[in-house]
């Protein structure tokens, strides 16, 4: 029998990006907020300090900041005809855990999506005709447009202090920035990070081919920055330990550096760590959430009543929480009916390596998580797809994030995989190799989805989330096309040799690709095809908001976090300005 705690206005599930932004906005609106975090409390000092933080074995290989798979994990299969098995070690993607969530260990690559992403279905139908894509592609519009989110992108970027250069300021194109971006109301809060040498070689080659290179927008600071919360970030030292690590220098925007110090001083905000939420409780009508049940660090079951429930977990866990709580109809791939778990998507990545002679020193160890230069000429619908037969796209960039000794061993094809020849080749190529990243979209497909596993359970006895995914044909074609363009740029960079290949199936979770899992609790304007409305509010239980990349109907070319931050502010704005005045459905 759960111990019943005093009621609160709001309970936040997860104290990561979403939890801290919503926590700040809702306490500001005068509400009492309780945040429940499954992981540990942590702060820059002492938890992220060197030299311990630069322990590659502990953090990169053993994944010290990630979800503990001995307690809970996901099961995976490539198709509905297979039996899914649990991921006993995290490899393919890395959900964070603990205060700050995945924002602690992210790289800081912070983009805005395009209008063509938000209205993908409409735009594709308009430009290429309704029969352009096979029926298997369940691409949908988001229910919001770029113009809706622009002020919220702006707010998020200024919270984080993003280092970048505008390419489209209120319609005015600015060479050197991303001239293909949607228009922004003002310049980035801080100037771009310094351009590494390999990135400069890329920029010249891309320019020579007629493309439009620009510096990667970065949440690693190029200069000291004080955000609107009054918190100061310091300059990134290019240490090369960014993704999978916390920042020791207060130089990477994270919940710890941009919000938590203010939030934790607010008496209206209460943070409880080591709380494993089991489910959102509903009243008898099933239309109203009464709070949540969680298990605390001592194993006690606690009930936290609340008037408003904000689900801000990792994307996959948002979906699982809805399924465990029986909120919304689960998706059925056989009929295409139901919504929860639908349109799970990922990201389609490939890489091209450029091997230089020994006079060209790339210094890959001297990197931040989000430095470098890229082009958006093949992003979203920035190029004509009519004759290509696929939707979506990818950016191409020399945006290496590290050259860490355990993980980075570039060798040309034909090198033995071990032994003295391999060692010789690593020593020869380590400092003379640049890597181009091809970071591509992932369209929604009827066959890719999430549901509860019929067999495997977590340490608390709850069913695990089951992932069913393989790369859709559309994305394989996209990767083939854009990786070919990347290879052309790589060749123009003047290396001795170029090696790379497009993404092909089957998808494997044993090779790290990206942590950008999206969908499953998607947003939209039609309750029969989406889980949450355009304000991220559950269609079925209006006092539950589900905020995360789980809301993306399909994933775009760019990294998803910038849009996630914008959606968090967008939802918070709707809650504070509309929902609190008239609790109930906003759409």
């Amino acid at each position: 029998m759960a111990a019943r705690l005093p009621s609160t206005d709001v309970v936040l599930l997860g104290a990561g990006l979403v939890g801290t932004i919503l926590g700040r906005e809702l306490t500001r609106a005068g509400l009492n907020v309780v945040a429940l975090e499954r992981g540990e409390p942590r702060s820059t000092v002492p938890d992220f300090q060197g030299p311990a933080m630069h322990d590659e074995l502990r953090y990169s290989v053993r994944k010290a900041l990630m979800m503990d798979t001995a307690r809970e994990t996901y099961t995976f299969r490539n198709s509905g005809s297979e039996t899914a098995l649990p991921l006993r070690r995290l490899q393919g993607f890395l959900p964070g855990t603990g205060v700050g969530g995945s924002l602690v260990h992210w790289n800081g690559q912070t983009y805005r999506f395009h209008e063509a992403d938000f209205r993908m279905r409409t735009k594709l139908d308009e430009r290429y005709g309704k029969t352009f894509l096979p029926a298997e592609c369940t691409i949908q519009d988001w229910g919001v447009g770029y113009a809706d989110l622009e002020p919220h992108y702006d707010r998020f970027e200024y919270l984080l202090g993003i280092a970048g250069r505008a390419g489209n300021l209120l319609g005015k194109k600015i060479p050197g920035g991303n001239v293909l971006e949607e228009q922004r109301a003002r310049e980035y809060p801080t100037r771009p990070q310094k351009e590494p040498y390999g990135s400069a070689i890329f920029r010249k080659a891309a320019e020579g081919l007629g493309y439009h290179p620009f510096p990667q927008p970065s949440a690693n600071m190029s200069e000291p920055y004080t955000n609107p919360e009054g918190l100061t970030l310091k300059t990134c030292m290019f240490c090369g330990y960014c993704e999978r690590y916390g920042c020791e220098h207060y130089a990477k925007a994270s919940a710890q550096t941009v919000l938590l110090p203010v939030l934790l001083k607010d008496p209206k905000f209460k943070l409880r760590t080591h709380c494993q939420v089991q489910k959102i409780s509903l009243d008898k009508s099933g239309r109203n959430a009464t709070g949540v049940t969680y298990v605390d660090a001592q194993g006690r079951e606690m009930e936290q009543p609340a008037k408003l429930v904000i689900v801000g977990l990792y994307a996959l866990n948002n979906v699982r929480m809805l399924l465990l709580s029986k909120i919304g109809a689960p998706y059925d791939p056989a009929t295409g009916k139901g919504v929860v778990g639908k349109n799970y998507a990922y990201q389609t990545l490939s890489a091209v390596q450029v091997f230089f002679d020994e006079k060209v020193n790339i210094n890959p160890f001297m990197r931040s998580g989000a430095c470098g230069t890229l082009i958006a000429d093949f992003v979203a619908d920035n190029f004509d797809h009519a004759k290509l037969g696929f939707a979506g796209g990818a950016y191409i960039g020399e945006v290496m994030s590290h050259g860490r000794p355990i993980e980075f061993h570039p060798t040309p094809p034909g090198t033995p995989a071990w032994g003295s020849e391999w060692k010789k080749a690593v020593a020869r190529h380590y400092n003379h190799t640049a890597v181009l990243n091809v970071h591509g979209s992932s369209i929604a497909s009827r066959r890719n989805y999430l549901d509860l596993d019929p067999t495997y359970r977590d340490a608390w006895g709850q069913p695990l989330l089951r992932m069913t995914f393989d790369f859709p044909e559309n994305d394989v074609k996209m990767s083939a096309y854009v990786t070919e363009r990347a290879t052309e740029i790589a060749k123009a960079m003047g290396g001795q040799r170029v090696a790379g290949a497009p993404r092909k199936g089957p998808y494997t979770t044993t090779q790290y690709q990206t942590t950008h899992n999206t969908g499953g609790a998607i947003m939209g304007n039609d309750r029969s095809t989406s889980v949450v409305n355009r304000y991220l509010q559950s269609w079925d239980v209006p006092n539950v908001f589900v905020i995360g990349a789980s809301a993306y109907p399909q994933n775009a070319s760019y990294n998803p976090t910038g849009t996630l931050g914008a959606l968090a502010y967008w939802a918070a704005h709707a809650i504070v300005n509309d929902y609190l005045k008239r609790p109930g459905p906003l759409a």
């Binding site: 820059t44 000092v45 002492p46 300090q49 060197g50 030299p51 311990a52 630069h54 322990d55 502990r58 953090y59 290989v61 053993r62 994944k63 010290a64 900041l65 990630m66 070690r89 995290l90 790289n107 990667q216 200069e223 310091k234 300059t235 030292m237 993704e243 020791e248 220098h249 207060y250 990201q347 990545l349 490939s350 890489a351 091209v352 390596q353 990197r367 290496m400 590290h402 860490r404 355990i406 980075f408 061993h409 570039p410 094809p413 190799t433 890597v435 990243n437 990767s479 290879t487 090696a499 790379g500 290949a501 497009p502 993404r503 090779q511 790290y512 690709q513 990206t514 942590t515 950008h516």
Partner: protein
């Protein structure tokens, strides 16, 4: 060539170059061991690039110091390089200093090795190396510099008389430290033994601009297991593009890495 030149001046301390050395020695000691009474730091074994940068900064005013500015201004760039190389190669014991008050030592150690979240200051050792022994030719060692100098140096950062860090990390750190914190840090590092200059017995380091390797560094990083404790170190991030690509290790999906 340069090596020969230095050998000459060391053997025959009567030429013009040695006059500069003698000037340095007047305050910094014959072997660069420093002089606590005069506030002159130990410079023996500091990274050559660091010493060069300081001389340049004294000369152009980024480091505002009434004693060093005229000296540095009178040194042509090639002499600054030669002097920096010379002192980088020395390994004199630190000059004896008055023992600092031990009351503030725990606070100094905390700031040095752990940092302080309340004032948003990270541990000194992130950049100045475990034990404050300096790193990679970029950051100076702090251990064994006498506390009078360290206090003055931190106050230069705090007060804006020193603008030699383009990242402004040191400026912000200096501003965040209270006068008591500065005294505590100076006392702590002043009490530590200076690093062993293992390259000092080797040929003069003017042949290489790298900082000599330092021995005797002894902090053990925390050995925790993460989500995948006990896993073999064959990470999933190999393959074409493994490691260095963005979004972590954006390995390509091909099996062979064949060029398309």
């Amino acid at each position: 060539m340069k090596r020969f030149f230095l050998t000459v001046i060391l053997v025959f301390p009567g030429n013009v170059f040695s006059q500069d050395q003698t000037d340095c020695a007047a305050c910094h000691g014959a072997s660069g061991e420093g002089n606590p009474q005069l506030g002159a730091p130990r410079i023996a074994g500091q990274p050559q690039s660091y010493l060069e940068r300081q001389l340049a900064a004294y000369a152009d005013g980024r480091r505002d110091n009434a004693v060093m500015a005229p000296i540095a201004k009178n040194l042509p760039p090639e002499k600054r390089i030669a002097l920096a190389a010379y002192y980088a190669g020395l390994s004199a014991p630190a000059a004896k200093a008055e023992p600092a008050s031990s009351a503030s030592m725990p606070r100094g150690k905390t700031l040095a090795t752990r940092g302080d979240e309340a004032i948003k200051v990270q541990a000194c050792e992130n950049c100045h190396g475990p034990g404050g022994t300096g790193q990679s030719g970029l950051t100076p060692y702090l251990a064994g510099l006498h506390s009078r100098y360290l206090e003055a140096a931190l106050n230069e950062w705090k007060g804006g008389q020193r603008n030699t860090d383009p990242s402004a990390q040191m400026t912000l750190i200096g501003k965040s430290l209270s006068p008591a914190d500065i005294k505590a840090l100076a006392a702590y590092y002043g009490s530590q033994p200076p690093p062993v200059n293992v390259a000092a017995s080797k040929p003069p380091p003017s042949a290489s601009r790298d900082q000599p390797t330092r021995a005797g560094v002894g902090t053990t990083p925390a050995q925790g297991v993460g989500a995948s404790g006990g896993e073999a170190t064959t990470g999933g991030s190999q393959g074409p593009g493994g490691g260095g690509a963005a979004s972590g290790a954006g390995a390509s999906g091909s099996k062979s890495g064949a060029t398309p």
